[in-house]
Symmetry: D2
Subunit: 148 residues, 4 copies
């Protein structure tokens, strides 16, 4: 997402995303105003991204020598979401660098067309022990390109 | 749950529960050992209970004059669960008092027969402003008895 | 805590606890009723316990071969707490077994004498890889006895 | 924060911030890699901001007719933080609009000079029932200008 221009919900569509997951909201997600707390959206985002990585065997929580470290993250909130209910989360890749990838997750209320929030983050891939950047593997590059 | 005796997983079965919900685990649920943190199970439990209350129109988050306040809670952990994945949560009522109800939630890994954890809590129903106990309505009593 | 008898706030006093930590509440801790969500108390409890273990060098998150696994937990809620504010958490040991220890944490609003909530859990110590119970070390036994 | 240029930790200093709060980390904040999860930083950020609003009597959780709704948020992560420990959070105002304010929170490990993470969000002030934007009150404008 380019933050230099004012983004509108109509800039995003369910058709923009090919990989989907459903996140079930929780009672504790709601804040005192009865809406999902802003920090909680980021826990949806990294659950979706990491599940993609695990499904595509790009990440093994216990054994992978290369792990993704979050360098920056951002989210834009258009329409509040609330527990109870399920959030449809669509994932795409916005930028593919030499050692990093930037994901975008569109979050939609179930059966609604208009996007509720759009967020994402940049993963820098590093070796687990020293945290030095590592080039993306061919496997990663290939998997991420299916999300571009 | 009676805590005076040592409970075993075989004391609980999927057949004990008639009302079910699925909770999707999140990346942040895992602790440093790679298992769902013990506190997080309680967020599953009260999500399931409150969704039941809302579905059966026993609770309206904004308007209900009588709300449930948690008086005590407990959980027994038999087998660790982990993100990613979905937790099957079965709900039943263990005790129905004059102003309170005690719920039990059995938590199972998807497609597994053995219970992973069993927890629950006691809701005391009180008026929203003064927090004074109120007798269960007939509607509540009837809905809870379907879970007994 | 023995759950077979009805516990009252007056059964607990700040003087019962010798080890103390302060937990700062968070905006997201409050639920829709404006009170700390019941699941969140358990995140206070295991933060206090694990910090004790780390301070007394009984646990090294990365290197310890023996780790504590939560077997059961429970909490009793007497008085609701809310963000903003700090919670004074007192820790004591309720039972010391061969391979396990049961902690109790009394939670108090700052500058208040009456206890707000009392909870705890049982840690079974196991080897990290196989999760088989291991007897408490002398170091542990000695540290825990200062909290009894 | 302007995201169009690559920000460095040296762009931020403890002297940039006049309003401070300490957040105690929690066991559950750590992810499987032993570092505070990225979503959790946002729960620090909005705890600090809302506590400021409450302290300066700009927000009453129960009674305020005008509340702040988060329109966008972002964070940049320079150095990982971990439980146990305390995070020093400094708050300043980055932009003051007609109906909105953009906060920045610098997060520092205790007794460290280098910033660990810098994040923030934009609050749009709206009436509680209809969520229509409302101009900042003079009280708000005056309080926020002390943080500019």
């Amino acid at each position: 997402m380019n933050s230099s221009r004012k983004l509108k919900p109509s800039d995003f569509s369910r058709r923009d995303y090919t990989y989907w997951q459903q996140v079930s909201t929780r009672w504790v997600d709601n804040d005192v105003y009865g809406h999902i707390n802003n920090a909680v959206y980021f826990s949806y985002i990294d659950s979706v991204v990491n599940q993609f990585l695990i499904e595509y065997q790009l990440l093994d929580l216990e054994k992978s020598e290369v792990i993704g470290v979050v360098a920056q993250s951002q989210c834009r909130f258009f329409q509040s979401l609330s527990y109870p209910g399920v959030v449809d989360c669509g994932l795409r890749v916005r930028h593919l660098g030499k050692t990093s990838v930037s994901y975008e997750v569109g979050m939609f209320e179930q059966d609604k067309e208009a996007v509720a929030a759009v967020g994402g983050f940049t993963h820098v891939f590093v070796d687990r022990s020293q945290h030095r950047p590592r080039p993306l593997s061919e496997l990663m590059r290939s998997a991420f390109s299916t999300l571009a």
